[in-house]
């Protein structure tokens, strides 16, 4: 094969896959600006008039503002707790040698492969017992629990690579164990910590199974539950659902536009090691 021919084949492959990967998003973006009757006339036409007004309609008529606020509160709280609690545990497992260290590490780590069913039914019972069922606090705590093993796993491998000399120096300077964590380990590990924060944020923002089991009241619903309900309500109104989907997609795309490298790093962090 000649070089230019090879090259154009490669370009066709890449362009073809790009159309396959991005096509669905382009299609839903176009539909989000057309009314359902326009869409029913031709599903693949470009919009003639841009119906921007559909966005505020979808936002206000379907409680999106409530779902958005719930998701933001629950996920941000869970990520904050995860970061502190996870970093403390990871620092401890990476820094101190003691009996049980590897046992604790292995027990936490092996939880990553547990199927969620093994905890979800009894979590439902437990949260009901303690009055945390159908509350945002309850869901937040469960979210912390399900992401904790992966967080500790990623951070531990990073903390373990910080040279010991730094800690010896800090001890000579009279730092307490807590100060060593908070003023030495934590700042050095910030890139890895940012990575886990992004990973946890995306995974929890999209989380559905635990939310659908542990939340029933509309006022406590998170965004994925809200979208599901919205779809049930609108069923035949394809144009409106497309607008609702875009409202869910746009924030992710905006964050991605600014932090694509960091996001990719975060999402792939667990896989690379």
């Amino acid at each position: 094969m000649t070089k230019p021919l090879k090259h154009s084949l490669l370009i066709i492959l890449l362009a073809g896959y790009t159309a396959f990967a991005a096509g669905p998003f382009v299609w839903v973006a176009i539909m989000s600006l057309r009314t359902t009757s326009e869409i029913m006339a031709d599903h693949f036409a470009l919009p003639t008039i841009l119906h921007w007004e559909k966005f505020p309609i979808a936002w206000f008529n379907s409680n999106y503002n409530v779902y958005f606020k719930n998701s933001a509160m629950i996920v941000l709280a869970a990520v904050a707790i995860l970061t502190i609690v996870g970093a403390m545990a990871a620092h401890c497992l990476a820094r101190y040698r003691f009996r049980l260290n590897r046992v604790i590490y292995f027990v936490l780590f092996s939880t990553i492969i547990f199927p969620p069913q093994i905890t979800i039914i009894s979590l439902f019972q437990i949260l009901v017992q303690y009055g945390l069922y159908d509350t945002r606090v309850g869901l937040t705590l469960v979210y912390v629990a399900i992401q904790l093993p992966l967080t500790i796993y990623i951070l531990e491998s990073f903390f373990a690579r910080i040279p010991n000399d730094l800690f010896d120096a800090a001890r000579i300077d009279g730092y307490s164990e807590w100060e060593i964590f908070w003023r030495v380990s934590f700042p050095i590990a910030l890139p890895a910590i940012a990575t886990t924060m992004i990973l946890n944020f995306i995974l929890l923002w999209n989380e559905f199974l635990y939310a659908v089991v542990l939340i029933t009241d509309d006022a406590n619903r998170t965004l994925p539950l809200g979208i599901q309900r919205f779809m049930g309500d609108q069923l035949e109104d394809v144009g409106m659902i497309a607008t609702g989907l875009m409202i869910a997609i746009v924030p992710v795309i905006i964050v991605y536009a600014f932090f694509s490298e960091k996001l990719i790093q975060g999402m792939t962090a667990g896989a690379v090691k």
Binding site: L14, A21, P115, Q117, F124, W178, L209, M267, V272
Partner: protein, 304 residues
């Protein structure tokens, strides 16, 4: 405590128990309360009939019923099929794309970022989107088939028991290829340049270079991705729930959706039986993942 002058050498060996306990306590408390205790309680449930106000010990009755439960075994088959096909499909396509980008095409950065996008979306958004893509009357799949004169092949892809599961496997593959590609590309870029240049000097063709040089070097990453993809598909729930709810005729029922149905949808008010399903599934998943990891490790040792 830290002000004690201890020799610098054995600092790494010092065990400030107070600090160790303080650092670990929050994480372990959360772990015990929301992971370990629920696991134990699920196992306990599995030997009981768990009604809203009382529990009745039934011994192995639930387990005996489970052995006869055809829907359960159907869902196990579906899930394992999904978890076996997906890793191969995802990783092989991803490898082709990663190699294409590795060959220094213009705009590689753009492609990498664009292809990664699907995995950032929730299964809920992706599911609704693909319900439309597979729509019988106006979905792009059938529209394309009709446009090229193959209208006879058009069908309700998610409504047909024969095509529903393969159609959903296509969706997860679409979603995860980009992720696998990015990880593989990173592995390719971390290969030592000299090795590849040496292969080029030896007049290796692309195919040989791939099979004898590149693949063995990135094999650990490939294995990692396969196991990761497998574990992810063994858990799958959201996508099925939003698209088919396990239908038609149990053809897309996964263990996750079946447990959910038995626990929270069917009005049997018994949490014991679904706990039994969860317990057995837990054992199956652990056994498969352990075997898989050990077997692949063994293989990769032989490769070198």
């Amino acid at each position: 405590m830290a002000s004690n002058t201890s020799s610098m050498r054995d600092d790494g060996l010092r065990r400030p128990w107070g600090a160790i306990v303080a650092f670990l306590l929050p994480a372990l408390t959360i772990y015990v309360a929301f992971t370990a205790y629920p696991v134990v309680r699920t196992l306990w449930n599995s030997a009981h009939k768990v009604l809203p106000r009382r529990e009745v010990f039934v011994g192995l009755e639930n387990y005996a019923a489970l052995a006869q439960d055809e829907i359960f075994w159907r869902s196990v088959r579906n899930t394992i099929t999904w978890a076996s096909i997906s890793p191969l499909a995802e990783v092989s396509v991803a490898l082709i794309l990663a190699l294409a980008l590795y060959a220094k095409v213009p705009g590689a950065r753009f492609f990498r970022i664009a292809w990664f996008t699907p995995v950032l979306m929730s299964y809920i958004v992706v599911g609704i989107l693909w319900v439309w893509i597979y729509n019988f009357d106006w979905g792009p799949v059938n529209a394309a088939l009709r446009a090229i004169g193959l209208g006879g092949l058009a069908k309700a892809w998610l409504g047909n028991p024969n095509t529903a599961l393969p159609s959903l496997i296509v969706v997860t593959t679409w979603m995860w290829i980009g992720f696998n590609m990015v990880v593989l590309l990173a592995a390719l870029h971390s290969l030592p340049r000299e090795v590849i240049e040496a292969a080029e000097l030896d007049n290796c063709g692309w195919g040989q270079k791939l099979v004898y040089v590149i693949l063995p070097l990135i094999w650990p990453t490939v294995l990692n991705l396969i196991v990761l993809s497998f574990i992810g598909k063994m858990k799958i729930f959201d996508l099925v729930w939003i698209t088919t709810k396990g239908g038609p005729l149990w053809s897309t029922e996964t263990v996750s959706t079946y447990v959910y149905k038995r626990a929270f949808e069917w009005s049997t008010f018994d949490l014991g039986y679904p706990s039994t399903i969860a317990a057995i599934w837990f054992v199956i998943v652990l056994a498969i993942v352990l075997t898989l990891t050990l077997a692949l490790r063994q293989r990769s040792k032989l490769e070198y």
